[in-house]
Symmetry: C2
Subunit: 310 residues, 2 copies
DNA sequence: ACGCTCCATACGCTTACTGATATCAGGTCA
DNA sequence: TGACCTGATATCAGTAAGCGTATGGAGCGT
């Protein structure tokens, strides 16, 4: 690609003149006087090395060379304008692509609302949503295969990544309706020591799993896991059939099953944190927009609930 | 199409930097120092309104906006370079299209050589060759449906058209080998008065037809046309079978048939002129090139045969 | 801590593009 | 022939882009 010194204004003048075939009218359309237009065309012709217009008496005409250049000039101008507009749209976050990883346990709680909010605000953005456990999310953020992660129990410190807590959920006990404790409003964790547990496989979310078993250990027992399921809905279904009890983030209440009761846990200090994660120095403005969408205060509401975490 | 002030040099710098992802290397490839390159990119980013590169430590990267702009910039640059090259080619007459009309009687004489010469010199040019009588050629030149005409007996004066005589051909008598005059080297026109004539229909070339009959009239007789044929080859074939004699431009000798003899005519001043015709103020350089190709002196031969006509 | 790489910034200079006004030249038409 | 429209030319000035050299500052490795 050799050096081509060529102001686009000249191409623009050329295209307009090719359309008008009249120097005066073209100059008026360009908002300049006629002599400058003559100069523009002349300069362009000098660069091409041949006449682009024939100024014979009786009217201005395109020469064959001009006819040849016209489509290239036109497509360059429009293509460039479009490309510029597209780049601006992407740059301002009105368009583009955002790849989001999310923990399975959030599919029913924070994720739907977040997506709805974001899609409303940025309809032009293509969202790539993929379910993945916390650790793979961290890895995916590092190798740039996702842009934002929605995960539980963020690691305290991670190089080049930022985290922000979105939600701090208490735990609830998941009990079959027939369970003796289901009549109570609050359940002490230790009271579940003898019940068989239904949990997610540890691999599906090691952080949350370890936290749950850690809570049990703190309450003085080791949970006896009789059954595992890969989704919370299945867990609830299994609990409903009386296969056992479970311990889950409060967001799970969204799953409404008749034979299942959700009860508050003591000690109530046990909480699981949901966080968004992203790369430091992220250049994609969509990430910033998503962070705004995920924040507890919607942008369009003036009030400040002062619940923002950092 | 709004005003977009955007030097192509910046786009070029952008594309090169996007390929190199290294300011120093890109600047070297562009043949400038590094600071100017930084300025170029910065100016372009200012115009776009967003960063196109991420200059994080560890390397330069394209931002999503830059990624969006890159293909548009690339295609604009290459498209423009191609368009410019094509326009130059057309402008210099190395490419393009040339529409040529030719009289039927030239199909075997000047036309083949002319086309061969021109094709050799300008292989990139597309030639549109169409057979048409003289008068339609004049009309076609006026309404711009052909660019060059090859015709016989050009009108003495014609508005906005130029003519140049290419060839001044004597006439020859076309005789069957068995004809009593075939043994002579030269034939007096009047001697053909009693022979039936084979001619082309007048409509196929009124100028030449009228000249032939005019010659006969000048020699004191009116040719008795017993047969007409639309091509000179057919005329010769008919002559060969003894159906009659004919009068034709000397170029017809190219048609070699055993039973046909071509003999010089007296008076030898009778000649038919072949001319090229083109529009005054023609902007297509191919026309000029064709005129050069049609001229008696080939450009690459230093010798001058001084036969050029005007 | 030092030096190295890499990019950004500051400064000064030159170029040339861009625009306007005024004027000229060629053609057409009344 | 003179009014008029066409586009070209001449001249001038303002602006901005382009370059180079010199320098600054951040990050990284030894």
């Amino acid at each position: 690609m050799e050096r081509l010194e060529l102001p686009l204004s000249q191409l623009h003048a050329f295209v307009v003149l090719a359309e008008e075939l009249h120097f005066g009218h073209a100059a008026a359309r360009l908002g300049i006087a006629q002599p400058p237009l003559s100069q523009q065309i002349r300069r362009l012709e000098d660069k091409v090395g041949h006449a682009l217009f024939s100024r014979a008496s009786g009217g201005v005409t395109l020469t064959p060379a001009g006819h040849e250049l016209l489509p290239a000039a036109r497509s360059a101008l429009t293509g460039l304008a479009d490309g510029l507009a597209a780049a601006r749209a992407v740059g301002s976050g009105q368009a583009g692509r955002l790849r989001i990883g999310f923990a399975a346990s959030l599919a029913l709680t924070v994720l739907p609302g977040l997506l709805r909010t974001f899609r409303q605000r940025f309809p032009g953005v293509h969202l790539d949503i993929r379910e993945m456990p916390t650790a793979p999310q961290i890895a995916a953020l590092h190798d740039r295969s996702i842009d934002v992660g929605l995960l539980r129990e963020p690691p305290a410190t991670e190089e080049e990544l930022c985290f922000r807590t979105v939600l701090s959920e208490p735990f609830v006990a998941v009990l079959p309706a027939a369970h003796p404790l289901a009549g109570r409003r609050t359940v002490h964790l230790a009271e579940l020591a003898d019940s068989p547990f239904v949990l997610l496989p540890r691999a599906a979310g090691p952080g949350l799993h370890d936290q749950i078993t850690g809570l049990c250990t703190a309450a003085g027992f080791t949970p006896r896991t009789t059954q595992r399921a890969v989704e919370w809905q299945t867990v609830c279904a299994l609990v409903e059939t009386g296969l056992g009890v479970s311990l889950a983030p409060a967001g799970i209440r969204r799953i409404r099953l008749k034979g299942v009761a959700f009860r508050r846990i003591e000690p109530s200090t046990a909480r699981t944190r949901v966080a968004v994660a992203w790369r430091e120095n992220e250049q994609n403005p969509l990430v910033t927009h998503l962070l705004a969408a995920v924040s507890p205060e919607p942008v369009d509401r003036p009030q400040r609930s002062s619940r923002s975490g950092r």
